[in-house]
Amino acid sequence: MQELINRAKELLADGTVARVLGWKAGDLPFNPEPAYFEKEEDFADFVYDGFCGANLSKYMIEASKLEGKTLVCLKPCDTYSFRQLMKEHRVNREKAYIIGVGCRGKLDVNKIRDLGIKGIESVQGAEIEGSDTLTFQTLYGEKTCSYADAMLERCHVCKGKEHMIYDELIGESRETKDADRFAEVEKIEAMSPEERFAYFQKELSKCIRCNACRNVCPACSCRKCVFDSNKFDSAQKANVNSFEEKMFHIIRAFHVAGRCTDCGECSRVCPQGIPLHLFNRKFIKDIDELYGEYQAGADDEERGPLTSYTVDDAEPGIVAERG
């Protein structure tokens, strides 16, 4: 982390960048927030640890409009989002100085709570090169858990430790993949339609239409979302689980299909713990199977699967045929 801070200060001092976009330590051990650093003294609060899960690439849409370059700290998975946004002309590469930061998986405070660790006063082991065990001092005594058990779902299906785009790299990355990316989707596919319906009905009935999934999503970069716009008659805010939640989540997933990098932010931020990544991953799985493997944000040129076609694509009837 110190190397990152030193380098950021250096680039700020020599005028290469006008500001640094990173994370500021929170007031609790696990809630650092995305923040801009413009002066040397700001860096007292700079932090980069296991709780810095936020994907900063979407902030670059606004940062691209500012004077001068913004140094942005991107983890390997975040760089896919940045590159996809570049492809869509939503961020300006010229306005970004990308430091690819190392990552060994990011932590999910909800998982820690689910492990029964409550009243956290301090944490050891969450540092960027910390141990494999997390030790918590809590109001109710010392607790421990393994780093891996506290990782975000997305880190268990990590896309790899390569950065897709960067100006320089600082820190080592570790591949944390220990699960099959599509296993959860396959599990649901194996259910009967009734079970699938019940599963999603139950999950989506929790949705409170807070739009956190949409607003955090780097692919949901519309200036105005159709669900906020009066152009379609779809601008509703009610939480009515007989239809609206399904409409919202299906259409949201559809709009990002072929553009979603599977960064997992939607599931990370959902206050109701809805596994929203399943929608996106289902589309990714279908796209991979039907149109060839495609990873959004892994290139600058290739057209997305929904803005291209081949003459012998599968017919929609395949959905019923494969059962």
């Binding site: 929170g26 650092p32 927030e33 936020a54 409550k118 109001l139 139950k202 409170i208 009610a238």
Partner: protein, 345 residues
């Protein structure tokens, strides 16, 4: 004071539900929220905070106000019936009850919101003391004692026993209806006091308990409003509505029409001041940037509301926003940022 063994709680819930509707913390797909009790519902009294506050029992996230029905060129209007059934909310925490007090100020002041008033009139609240407060809690800052919740009935879960203390006439009536399940216990007071002491000891150790609200009142309105701190504080905000929707006191709503095809259902639903179309009017929006929207939320909770309500803050320190904000922003960080700036000056 009464008591009932934890193992008999299901019987208690069955009994209440047989008399009136019962809302209580229910776990659904891994998350605890207040919901209607049923035989299959997975009741969860151990989780300290429900994801959403239970305010929606009185102020639902969406509710129909009236329905217009179109038949050819004819229109008829059907008003929505007010709440007529009695119901019980079991397991509300002290902070959430304080939240209801805030809502009362809004909805029961003239002009009274009849939908809300009907629900308040028909609801009986059974409060549950917080057995193990967490690091995100700061109700004490707002003068709430989570060890001694003020409601129609106050309850404490101590080991395997629930202690039950009616506090109001509604509480007495409910207690009377459950007489065959609740037993009087003379030693209860002592046990409850011990539990309260333990809770309060934890509260003293909570990281936010010593948060100072000094300088937050109506007198400093313009100073706070114009502070340059907002220029920085809002920046990570994603403009989602999480904080407002989990909040026990946020009371803003939007009124919209749902076109049913046979007419229009006019409904109201929670709105969020974080949304870009919040207070959108025909001419546009008077808060054009997220900074202004972000500022609005905290100014409202900490300045405008107390200024209009005899110093009552419209934050109750439940800590839900601390836990749920996707960008790790929250009211505590705002208060601390101003405190720090004050210290520097």
């Amino acid at each position: 004071m009464y008591q009932i063994a934890k193992e008999n709680l299901t019987a208690l819930f069955q009994k209440i539900a047989s008399l009136q509707e019962l809302y209580l913390p229910v776990k659904n797909a891994g998350q605890v929220n207040f919901g209607v009790w049923s035989e299959d519902a997975e009741v969860d009294l151990d989780t300290l905070k429900s994801v959403k506050s239970p305010k929606d029992v009185f102020f639902p996230q969406s509710e129909t106000l009236y329905t217009c029905i179109r038949n050819g060129k004819k229109l008829t209007i059907e008003p929505e019936a007010l709440q007529e059934q009695h119901f019980v909310v079991f397991g509300m925490k002290a902070c959430d009850i304080k939240g209801v007090e805030v809502l009362d100020r809004v909805f029961l002041s003239d002009p009274v919101d009849t939908f809300y008033a009907a629900r308040r009139d028909h609801g009986t609240i059974v409060a549950l003391a917080c057995h193990e407060p967490e690091e995100t809690c700061f109700c004490q800052v707002f003068g709430t004692d989570c060890a001694d919740p003020a409601a129609d009935v106050a309850a404490w879960m101590i080991e395997d026993t629930l202690y039950w203390k009616p506090m109001t006439k509604k509480g007495e009536e409910l207690t009377a209806s459950l007489a065959d399940l609740l037993t009087e216990d003379d030693s209860a007071q002592e046990k409850v006091e011990a539990e309260q002491a333990a809770i309060r000891a934890i509260v003293e150790k909570l990281p936010y308990s010593n948060l100072s609200l000094e300088g937050w009142n109506g007198d400093v309105l313009m100073e706070k409003f114009n502070s340059p701190l907002w220029d920085e504080l809002y920046k990570p905000c994603l403009a989602c509505g999480t904080c407002t929707f989990v909040c026990p006191t946020c009371q803003c709503y939007d009124i919209k029409d749902y076109d049913t095809g046979h007419g229009v259902q006019r409904y109201r639903c929670w709105d969020s001041c974080m949304y870009s179309d919040f207070t959108m009017m025909a001419h546009g929006n008077n808060r054009t940037t997220q900074k202004e929207r972000f500022r609005q939320r905290f100014m409202h909770k900490l300045v405008y509301f107390p200024a209009n309500n005899g110093g009552m803050y419209s934050c109750v320190g439940c800590g839900r926003c601390v836990e749920k904000c996707p960008a790790a922003l929250n009211i505590v960080k705002v208060i601390k940022a101003f405190q720090k700036q004050g210290g520097e000056q």
